[in-house]
Symmetry: C2
Subunit: 342 residues, 2 copies
């Protein structure tokens, strides 16, 4: 076995090319400030030595890691992983790496400060609405503005940049679709209470009901947890009530799927007995039986826009005077889980 060769440094390349380290550095970062001939010599030397830049040294010197951190409540959830995919594409297109943190537990701020204030990541993409962005902003002692973009969930703090879907409007449109189909007895499976998007969707539900002069039956508004299991439980609770709605707006597709599944086990058919509209348009939605009518969130765009915004902020390197808020629309995708009432 060969003796371990040390990985070559910029000095090794310099020696090899018979120039100074400074020149090598220039060739790498601003090639036009170097004469053609030396540039070629240096490039050859880089190849010969197999040099790769040491990022740690570079970060230390530049005080920038060219890395961003994405924090999500549960990266195993396809919703977030789809976004992550877009985040990685956009980030690596701009020369940034992506660190991922999931299920940030008890002390999120300490956690995040470890990442952000310690030169590991230059900015934060926050997909976890349960984090307290007010306190997070406190991380940033000087008040300069920690590069931060909150996405997906409505930020409780208008001070932070955000990219979100208009959950309220989207919910209204989903419910209006049901109402347009002639439904009047409409239920809602809502998300977990900590979640801000859930509140917006509930508000949208109520607004759409109100504008149509329909009353909300509290027994038909049941809480879930944004997963399939909880959709089943929601169905159970609704089935236990005195009467049944003819249509239900589920806070997301997972819950819609669990809900429909449970309905079927109880001998009820969707859409024959109950129409169901979901939210998100997850991958399986078109292939489910029945194919799910749902509000499609532009997840790619959420990831791409949020990342672009974050990197712009990082590179502008200036205090964000005015926070930017991007609001994206959701699109109603009509499939077969909803049909005319009666």
């Amino acid at each position: 076995m060969m003796p371990t060769k040390k990985t070559p440094t910029i000095q090794d390349v310099a020696r090899h090319a018979k120039v100074s380290a400074a020149t090598v550095s220039r060739v790498l970062s601003m090639p036009d400030r170097v004469s053609e001939t030396t540039r070629e010599r240096v490039n050859a030397a880089v190849r010969d030595t197999g040099y790769t830049i040491n990022q740690a040294a570079r970060s230390l010197r530049l005080r920038a890691a060219r890395t961003i951190l994405m924090a999500a409540p549960n990266i195993g959830n396809p919703f977030y992983s789809t976004i992550l995919d877009a985040v990685i594409s956009e980030a690596s297109g701009r020369g940034y790496s992506v660190l991922v943190a999931s299920r940030i537990g008890e002390d999120p701020n300490r956690w995040l400060s470890d990442y952000l204030l310690s030169n590991r990541a230059d900015g934060l993409l926050l997909f976890d609405g349960s984090l307290d962005t007010n306190r997070l902003h406190g991380l940033d002692e000087g008040g300069v503005g920690l590069p931060l973009v909150a996405a997906y969930d409505e930020p409780p703090d208008p001070q932070v940049n955000s990219v979100i879907t208009d959950n309220r409007l989207a919910a209204m449109r989903a419910v209006r679709h049901l109402i347009g189909l002639g439904h009047r007895d409409i239920g809602h499976v809502i998300g977990p209470s900590r979640n801000q998007s859930r509140n917006e969707r509930l508000l949208g539900f109520e607004a759409a009901m109100g504008e149509a002069g329909l009353t909300v039956n509290p027994a038909w508004v049941v809480q879930g947890n944004y997963n399939m299991e909880s959709g089943m439980a929601a169905a159970d609770r609704m089935l236990a009530s005195a009467s049944l709605p003819t249509a239900v707006f589920a806070g997301n597709d997972e819950m819609a799927i669990g809900f429909i599944h449970r309905l079927r086990r109880a001998g009820l058919d969707c859409p024959r007995d109950i129409s169901v509209v979901g939210f998100d348009d997850i991958a399986v939605a078109p292939y489910f039986d029945p194919p799910l009518t749902t509000m499609r969130q532009p997840r790619d765009e959420i990831g791409t826009r949020a990342t672009r915004m974050l990197i712009d902020i990082i590179e502008a390197a200036m205090p964000e005077n005015e926070p930017v808020h991007v609001v994206l629309g959701a699109e109603l995708v009509i499939r077969e889980s909803t049909r005319k009432a009666g």
Copy 2:
């Protein structure tokens, strides 16, 4: 707006506590080598100044980033994102951060060398079977052994450490289940050709057919792409053949779902007309209609074991003399997409 305070360094803390920087460093990394009283003074100073360690400087000095890189073909796929979740848990429990790279394109080696040889990541978790691990090993010039664990896909290279499921055996068990149900006309939807796991599953399929004295009808072996869309296409091709099998082993659950979906559109029912067994046990499998019979891969365990192994290697910091191969079993989960023949 306040003037930007520079983030405090270890020197600031030292001044504050009236000790040397070396002492502060010791308090942070080996507290017992410091007297009780100074330790307290230093800790207080750390709190007062709001000091956080600069990871870039630390990495430079230590020649280690305490970061690992996970490379997957498509992190948006729930299969990989579930694993990622486990990877992050395990890694952060051991004080490591996780960088994620997805869809590594044309020149994967260059890409990866950028990460690994440049002190950004200390090791690689490779979930992309399309990467050439032979050439990847070449990254490691001295032959010391780049810390690398390949997972999920059968590594074409026995030289690299791996954590995999026994795809062949799992496939055999899936098909035996079908045979045990009395099926004799059995088809197979296989994965994309670049994929090694697909070959193993095909081999398992053939082995199980062979041992039961059944012949494989080539018209019933159709290729897909591990996604739902391709499952539909596979069904189309099978429906176009002279006769139909009574049971099908799908290379993964996504294809099983697309397949069943298409069948239903053609007026065929699963499991009444055709039984289908899938592979993976993705989240929606129990909620699909019919609930999917499938081979469950221990995805959490894959992620956890692979990560543990990688970090062990990194921290042992010694040439891996013998590559380690961990083979995990898959479990048959019988639900309702398969039933007795006839």
